[in-house]
Symmetry: C3
Subunit: 266 residues, 3 copies
């Protein structure tokens, strides 16, 4: 029994995910392959790193997590296999591993270079299928990381800003703007209440809504999005443009609320 | 071999589904986990109950169906484990089980209270992950329902209106308005023809279209939606607003048609 | 261990996929069921055939591929089971198998007629669930194709236009218009560069964009879409209408580029 998970920015309709699953089924047919998400905002390493950090620890020891958010594919960026906490990871050396390496013991990191474990030929544009998938299958089969590449300790780290959670307020920031202009913050659903006061830029929003459709067009709303994080949106509009906000814009929550945001996050 | 299925209103892009799958993979790694759907209209118990009733019976005896449409999470609503027909169910006590209990033998229903089977700690906001998933894994492992909670018979029932299917017409109603204002009815695709006459409120629609794009903006159409049910929509508009229609609005079909709606429902 | 894959045009939110999976879980619970894609443009046999041809060969020998894009359901079109290359296929006799039959050895094709392997009763509208799924389970269980139907050699072929790839240019065509009016071509991502020159109808586009959001409303763009193929789109507009283009419209690429479209296709 082995568990292999996939996190990508390919979108839920992409046939590329199936190509990866075909390689895994060929190399390791008895594995159970589980989708973490394929809806990471395209090319957004910071958002992908946070999501991977949120999801990976829910899986059993020995699970192999493959993360394909890889703007550098085709360049000379390295691909890593890592043993961090109780799990294995196969991902580009672009910082995706940072939040996990900050929280859990880093037991081993190698830069993949043993091409006998890869598909042949390797395309220029899809290392998720040609390199990461067969290496994940090898790890699931029990191959030690040391046989897959050279040990490295200079792997890339990205700064993932953490919110300051205090007794009466939280100070965080926008970590990602999605394709609709919605502002996704680094503040977790677990830390806020449905009737808190939310500030972003010079705007104040009282309380969370459950979904965009709870307000009329043009209104600014705060909600818990599918990311599991506090988000700001303008109904039928573009919050990033209207506020002149973007990655790094400060966000503050006044923790005046008492009610859990029942039903927003299940 | 055990089968566990998931039905939620989280949306297809949600990472919360992966957290549930992580718990299942940890507690019961050999189970096969199958998505029923994650596209139930948010918080809509009636729509979720109907969909669960439509899908669950297609699975083999012993399958464990987990349904997380749970507007009451964080309140004192109970969570049930039930043995109905040949299947097991883990779901909030909000009526989701009603259509199945109406059709199949109710063999056992317990209200979960044995916390040793749950995750610890249990969050206030995500009982699908913290309570329902580990209990589903326990049932799949062969734990009898009676060890998971106290037997109850006062579980919540919701009224699911059924259509009257007659020889020349069907009388049904709108059971759900989705976030686009489309009107989803309780009339099944199996009972109508592509060239029937469809009435909702004071509007008459002749024949089904295959998709919204078959008509121009502003036109009212009838179609078989992804729910497998008759739906009414206004192309690029909001049918609920334009008709002043909503849950409970009467719908009628004149069964004058002779052709199957070939290809609409495959 | 057996692998069964599914390709449909049901959409990612459809509950019909779950009904097929329920039948497979009932008839062949130990199989691993993998989604190829459920986002084929509705009823588009040519697009489905190309996608199936792209994806099926990534799977291990013996995999059973089920393709349910079936505008003729309810008519007297036949359903085929085929052994082509190293894989098995269950699909309507509407040409879906053509690209694979062109590339790989056709070892056996039968027209299904042994109803003892089907569900009973069989609906008029959903042969994917009632015929194809149980037959796929039978094949995965080792039943020879010859026991499932009569051998045929007059199965339907569709012409899938192939691009002419030359040293300095590619001549292809539009093979599909999606519901947004985007023009999907038969030119593969593997054959073009990020800074090539793209022509469709009388329009010239210099270079690929990574996503629609890289340009402003009304602009014509070329990009690699989720199909893995060159596509043309008008941002917030309808390319098919604006260009008067459709299936068969000529497309040409001047291969002047040198850079891979890094990150567009991972």
């Amino acid at each position: 029994m082995s568990i292999i998970t996939l996190l990508t920015d390919f979108g839920v309709s992409s046939p590329y995910v199936a190509q990866i699953k075909g390689v895994l089924a060929t190399r390791r047919p008895e594995s159970h392959v589980i989708d973490l998400t394929h809806s990471v905002p395209p090319q957004n390493i910071q958002a992908a790193a946070i999501t991977l950090g949120d999801l990976a620890p829910w899986f059993p020891a020995g699970a192999v997590h493959v993360a394909v958010v890889d703007p550098g594919v085709g360049s000379d960026r390295r691909i890593l296999a890592a043993h961090v906490g109780d799990w294995y990871f196969v991902l580009p050396d672009n910082g995706l591993i940072s939040p996990l390496a900050d929280r859990f013991a880093v037991k081993s990191v190698v830069a993949l270079d043993r091409r006998e474990f890869w598909l042949s030929p390797v395309s220029n544009t899809f290392h998720g299928r040609d390199v990461m998938a067969p290496v994940a299958a090898a790890i699931a089969s029990g191959i030690p990381l040391e046989e897959l590449g050279e040990s490295v300790d200079d792997w890339h780290r990205v700064h993932i800003p953490r919110p300051r959670v205090m007794s009466k307020s939280i100070q965080g920031e926008v970590i990602c703007v999605d394709s609709f202009g919605n502002l996704i913050t680094n503040i977790s659903a677990d830390d806020v209440h449905g009737d808190d006061v939310f500030r972003v830029g010079d705007r104040v929003v009282n309380g969370l809504v459950r979904s965009y459709s709870d307000r009329t067009a043009g209104q600014m709303v705060a909600l818990i999005g599918s990311s599991g994080r506090l988000e700001f949106a303008v109904v039928d509009g573009n919050a990033a443009v209207q506020l002149g906000a973007g990655q790094g814009t400060a966000v503050e929550v006044d923790l005046v609320g008492e009610t859990q945001q029942v039903g927003d996050l299940q």
